[in-house]
């Protein structure tokens, strides 16, 4: 156990401090010393000041890629450089302290940049990122340089009156090195494209290199007194290259230029040194910010091009017509679907006004929808569903309008409305019939009694009617009138009788489907769900489809009313349809409060209802319809949902004929 633990502990360390990091560290230290030696021009005030410090950039690259925790290597590299390049004493505590201070400073900068996601995983692509990077570098290098100078002043090597003069020189050299090298090398990503760029544009690249070299020669080829007077010439190639290739190109050009400058000033040092330093810093900053701007612009252009391509594809594919309208109401763009809708097969004519195509459309609301007449170029009209939106402020030039041909939608709506009207008409007829039938039945009882009493009176009055003929005829007339009243009722009932029963094979899924569709809106408003189960292959019963639809309609309406009175969270209605060779059944169950036991026995009698505004005819009609098809409609409490359950059974062979 202890063995295992001791073996396990170093593992993350080994993983983090792997051999590649060590190799990188060794290469870094060697390069650092080399760069220091190469760029060291002259000792200024014993501070090891050089016109620019590539090793500062190198340090930041190293710490950004392998991690700020490697700052020990930086201290070592700095110390070695002091020893080897400037022959410092190995025992000098000052040099050691200065090295440690530099290492701490760059470690901090690396940590800060990593925190801001400005490391090798995130190449600088925007001016904002470039400015942030430059700002961080400026701030931290000021701190590093200030600390460095303080160390030297405190140890008495540097007279305090020289401190302020030494500071900018030290600072600017480091800063130039960091700004030029770090963004250039920290990200390898843009360099992936370098070989193909070289293959395609090598003449251009060679020309740009030549101009760079020429500008260095122009700056330093002159006598030393005139040197730096033409330094601004160096901006020309750097700006050119930055504009052409963006950030990587601009920084590479600056690097080449600065290497050339170092080589040029090895022999004769221009004076004053700070002029050269400032110029180089300005050059680096220019390349960094300009290059970032160009790179950013290229990225933006690419994204815009991509989005445009996507939008163009979308517009071409869209089944809806899409129009772009300018501020003057002219059609600026129309997609193929729109051209087809308006019959402009030849393409969009210049200065086509929206008024020509959609005369009734007034674009006043920022967003809207309308259904109105569209006019084709051949003069024919069609009904169009229109939606529009005003374009946002930067593009405040008009509207986008979509157009859809509404003919099909209106036709389907009309059909659905006609169907609904048909069902409603049949329902009204059925209600009247049921009413007449119930009325006839209820009134026939007293009329029967009345007629019988009158006939009995006739017999009882026989002895008197011999003397009074009028009594006999009056009683006869009374009985006759009573019979006539009954006859009126009979005719009324016969008129509404379901004699017009149409018997045909009924496709149950179609009937259920169309009723379910008719209920969609009401179900949604009531927040209830209707679940339909169709079991197996269904036989087609012989029945009247319209009547069956009315029955289903009644039963579903009852179920919906019931679930609306339920306190249950889930308002659920289930419709089970099934059957065998003998009969089919439709079972409508709900989760409502169910039917009161005293009501259950006479549920199907006319005028029995628990609804305040109900006639109590729905179930009576439904039962007579189903019975007319030889079937039966029954009620039972729903076991599963807890509400009511109505079952329709219809024999597949229709009512028995005999």
């Amino acid at each position: 156990m202890t063995q295992f633990t001791s073996a396990a502990v170093p593992a993350p360390l080994l993983g983090r401090w792997n051999y590649r990091s060590w190799a990188a560290a060794a290469a870094y230290i060697a390069l650092y010393v080399l760069c220091d030696w190469l760029s060291y021009v002259q000792p200024v005030l014993k501070l090891g000041i050089t016109p620019w410090n590539p090793q500062a950039g190198l340090t930041l690259i190293f710490l950004l890629t392998v991690g700020p925790q490697w700052l020990g290597c930086t201290a070592l590299a700095s110390f070695l450089a002091e020893l080897l390049v400037r022959n410092a004493s190995p025992t000098s505590l000052l040099v050691l302290a200065a090295s440690v201070w530099i290492a701490l400073g760059y470690g901090g900068l690396a940590a800060l940049l990593r925190h801001w996601h400005l490391d090798h995983h995130h190449p600088i692509r925007t001016t904002a990122a470039a400015a942030k990077f430059a700002g961080a570098c400026v701030g931290v290098t000021i701190v590093i340089a200030a600390g460095y100078v303080v160390l030297f002043v405190a140890s008495g090597v540097l007279p305090p009156e020289h401190a302020l003069r030494a500071l900018p020189k030290l600072l600017i050299g480091d800063l130039t090195g960091v700004l030029t090298l770090t963004p250039l090398l920290v990200s390898t990503r843009p360099w992936g494209a370098a070989p193909s760029v070289w293959r395609q544009h090598h003449w251009q690249l060679l020309g740009q290199l030549a101009v760079l070299i020429l500008s260095v020669w122009l700056i330093f080829g002159l006598p030393v007194t005139l040197q730096l007077r033409f330094f601004y010439l160096a901006f020309v190639p750097v700006i050119w290259i930055s504009l052409r290739w963006g950030l990587p190109g601009g920084l590479l050009a600056t690097l080449i230029l600065q290497v050339g400058l170092i080589i040029a000033v090895q022999d004769e040092t221009p004076s004053p040194l700070i002029d050269l330093q400032f110029l180089m810093l300005t050059l680096s900053l220019t390349a960094l910010l300009l290059g970032a701007a160009v790179t950013e612009r290229a990225g933006v252009l690419q994204r815009v091009a991509m989005r445009e391509a996507e939008q163009r594809a979308l517009l071409t594919m869209s089944p809806d017509g899409v129009l772009a309208i300018d501020a003057h109401g002219r059609v600026r763009m129309a997609n193929p679907a729109a051209l087809e809708l308006f019959g402009a097969g030849g393409g969009l004519a210049a200065a086509t006004s929206l008024r020509e195509w959609l005369p009734d459309l007034t674009l006043q609301e920022p967003v809207g929808r309308a259904t109105l007449q569209g006019r084709r170029t051949d003069g024919r009209n069609f009904t169009a569903d229109i939606a529009w939106a005003r374009l946002d402020p930067p593009a405040n030039a008009g509207f986008m309008v979509t157009v859809r041909d509404a003919t099909e939608r209106l036709r389907l709506q009309g059909e659905a409305r006609e169907r609904d009207a048909g069902v409603a008409r049949a329902m009204r007829f059925a209600v009247a019939g049921e009413l007449a039938s119930a009325l006839a039945h209820e009134l026939n009882q007293p009329i029967t009694a009345l007629v019988s009493y009158l006939r009995a009176s006739d017999i009882l009055a026989a002895p008197f009617s011999r003397e009074n003929e009028r009594l006999k005829t009056t009683l006869g007339k009374a009985a006759h009138e009573a019979m006539r009243a009954s006859e009126v009722l009979r005719r009324l009932r016969d008129f509404y009788r379901t004699g017009t029963l149409k018997r045909e094979p009924v496709h149950l899924p179609t009937v259920c489907g169309s009723v379910a569709v008719a209920f969609q809106d009401r179900l949604r408003r009531a927040n209830a769900s209707l679940v339909t189960h169709m079991g197996g292959p269904l036989p087609m019963p012989q029945a009247d489809a319209m009547q069956l639809e009315i029955v289903l309609h009644n039963l579903l309406a009852n179920a919906l009313d019931a679930v609306c009175h339920s306190t249950k969270a889930r308002r659920r209605i289930e419709l089970h349809v099934g059957g065998d060779a003998e009969e089919v059944f439709l079972r409508i169950e709900d989760c409502g409060p169910g039917v009161a036991p005293d009501l259950a026995g006479k549920l199907f009698e006319p005028f029995v209802t628990n609804k305040p505004d109900g006639m109590g005819l729905g179930l009576a009609i439904s039962r007579s319809f189903i019975r007319a098809s030889g079937g039966e409609l029954t009620f039972e409490p729903s076991g599963r949902l807890g509400g009511a359950c109505f079952v329709v059974r219809i024999p597949t062979r229709g009512p028995a004929e005999s």
């Binding site: 029967t448 006939r455 009995a456 017999i459 009788r497």
Partner: protein, 205 residues
Amino acid sequence: MSAPTVFVVDDDAAVRDALSLLISLKGLRVSTFSCGEDFLAVYEPRWRGCLLTDLQMPGISGLELQRQLAERGITLPVIVLTAHGDVATARAALKSGAVDFLEKPVDDDVLIDVLENAIRVDEERYRAQALELHVSQRLERLTARERDVLLLLSEGLQHREIAARLAISPRTVEVYKARMMEKLQCRTLAEVVRIGAEARLRPAQ
């Protein structure tokens, strides 16, 4: 045997009262019940007449009442009277043995006709049952020879043929025939033939 009566079953008191008044004034005996259950509870087999029932009633319906009567072997003729006349129910009623189907309100002449007819049907049915009982009693009184003569006579054989078949003299056949006809109280040969046909259906014990 009791006097023929019209048994009226209807849930409507006014209808019951009016119908019974009318029917009794027309000279028929009436008895009323407010539902089928009541009628079934008190029915006695010796009751003669007919049943006039409503179709739609609370409790058992007219059709159900008819079915239960048939189940109990009660042959009382049933007339269905309904306020809700439609072809399907009329057919159902007639199929299950109703002698007639009337719609409310009903004309008194028609009603009395139908009721008298039903009572006649009931009487005929009763008399047929009684006659049947009578014939079998009379047949039991015949001797074996007399029965043979009866059977052969009813087959249409002549006296001589019967004598040959039974190996007796034609004279003896005549004697048997006279005695047999006297026992059966038959006056004509036609009556003999009819009873003979029935006797053939009922072999002697």
